[in-house]
Symmetry: C2
Subunit: 338 residues, 2 copies
């Protein structure tokens, strides 16, 4: 099959690789209908994570079940499915408590930017649609594989509730989805920290009530001014850098929680400030499967349309251009069609 591989920082290729095969009875092979590039794929692309030369990359996808292992009961070839990037049996103690991203039989999608992908623990991981979805719904369904669920997790972890003032740090696709999540969870005020006009526009469409274009101390002061000096009820940290985390803790009101979903890189937590202000930290790798049924219902009902974060669609053959476009911030998020 054709699969995206990474050979070094900046070196993305589409190459021939053996298609994945069923090795365990709990697995399924999915033919990818749409995949995409994640903000976290840019870490190795930019040389900030180590790269195993020639390894496949990509972990978000929707598609059609091609083959299932002998133990798979809930899915059949032909089912249209959303594959969470982190796989789970959905029956272990951690899964039962909602922590499906820490499943005791955890697995990961390894070839989401390819023609086929293997899903471990298919019965626990996958969620199917009723029949084949309309093409127009594919982008939104695809976001449920990771980015929308991750933005949702930021909002849940930060404790957004009806009437909250929520501030989203980061205007990448996850940050935009976090805006949407905060609005859906009833936040009265959703502040997005964004200085890019196209992203501000989507944020507003998703429910942002205020935009803070400044960064660093100036941006923090703006948020404090917006909240009468009190700070945010909930801060959704959707970047993962030290600067973003610093801002998050500086604008969080005492007793609140910073929900974090950006893979942390070079972050040192301000523990003394957290202690003095009683500002907590919660979140991490999103338990996508936990949120999926609810989010699917919201997409199908038209309550949310997170697919608009895809502002570029490319054939899989042009995946390298997709990475360049995201790296240079020419694209918010790139959808790939095998």
């Amino acid at each position: 099959m054709r699969a995206t591989t990474i050979h070094a920082a900046g070196d993305i290729r589409l190459e021939d690789r053996p298609a994945p095969e069923i090795a365990e009875p709990t697995e399924a092979i999915v033919k990818v209908v749409a995949g995409c590039i994640c903000g976290s794929d840019l870490w190795p692309y930019r040389g900030e994570n180590p790269v195993e030369a020639g390894s496949t990359i990509g972990h978000e996808l929707v598609g059609v079940v091609e083959e299932v292992g002998a133990g798979v009961r809930e899915f059949r070839p032909g089912d249209f499915v959303i594959a969470p990037f982190v796989h789970c049996d959905n029956t272990c103690a951690h899964c039962r408590a909602g922590a499906t991203s820490a499943c005791q039989n955890q697995g990961f999608t390894e070839s989401g930017q390819a023609e086929y992908a293997k899903v471990h623990q298919a019965d626990g991981s996958l969620v199917k649609t009723e029949g084949m979805p309309d093409d127009s719904m594919i982008p939104s369904l695809l976001t449920l594989s990771d980015v929308m669920a991750t933005g949702w997790h930021a909002a849940v972890a930060a404790g957004v509730r009806a009437g909250s003032t929520a501030v989203v740090v980061g205007d990448g696709a996850v940050g935009l989805c976090a805006v949407l999540a905060a609005a859906q969870l009833g936040a009265e005020r959703v502040v997005t920290m964004s200085r890019h006009e196209p992203r501000q526009k989507i944020a507003t469409e998703f429910g942002a009530t205020d935009i803070v274009a400044e960064r660093g101390e100036d941006g923090e002061q703006q948020v404090l001014d917006l909240t009468d000096g009190i700070g945010a009820d909930a801060v959704l940290e959707c970047v993962g850098t030290g600067a973003a985390m610093t801002t998050a803790f500086n604008i969080a009101r005492p007793g609140s929680t910073v929900g974090f979903v950006g893979v942390p890189h070079g972050v040192e937590l301000p523990l003394r400030k957290m202690f003095g202000k009683n500002v907590g930290l919660a979140g991490g790798m999103a338990p996508v499967r936990t949120y999926l049924p609810d989010l699917l219902e919201r997409v199908v009902s038209g309550a949310i349309d997170p697919g608009v974060v895809f502002d570029m669609t490319l054939p899989l053959a042009e995946v390298a251009e997709g990475y360049r476009a995201m790296d240079e911030r020419r694209a918010i998020k790139v959808l790939l069609q095998p």
Copy 2:
């Protein structure tokens, strides 16, 4: 008045100091009936915090109101009061949200190990008893000034609820109160990590169902074994050292929260592990005033008797011996009678 002062690490003295005087109309002067030594007083005593030579020390007390400022409405000379170590107006936005330890008019008790202490924002900070309490109740009332409320905060921050398995890291007075708090909040299983027999005994009296005497990796393994490898639903970190925090995150189950109330010293948070396991951190300086009315009711009704953490009572004149006894772990917590 006679007041405890610290001149250098290990150098505690009882000296004459001017009695505090009303400077703002919102203040009150309290004649100390009982004060005590806090675990956090040992940080400067051990040279781990800087010392301003000759400064007064001590922040926990109960007593009788001696004098009130012109603006104080709720208290009169003669009232028996519990003084939270952190003062608050109990009306600002932070206080209204329950974050009374981050009050916009925050103040602190500065001479709790003395004959008199000043309380800022007396109307907001103080809580009085109905009439003069019986002598036998003084120790338990005194714990509400800090240690019991701090243990309670650990349990609340960690999200202890009915049926939880809670693990308390640390068997100081705060840790013991955290055991009591977890049991009161309905934890089905309360594990105390303690290797000191007298402390184990109090923990058991307070509701601990299991004792883990080992520390470090051995202790962590014991907790995991006790929980079928799943980890604790809630971890109450009541020490503040790096080793205690490491243990806390190693035994917390995915999706849970470490509640921390030990003033952090030399702690580096395992952020990648927190991200991967979705284990949050919450807590900090306890909002004592927030919990005080409920805790007072529990003490008065006899539901809790946290005063048993005081295993040594000394006249104020022997305060230096009190510090030595706590430093050498000959005493869990020392009550001082002026």
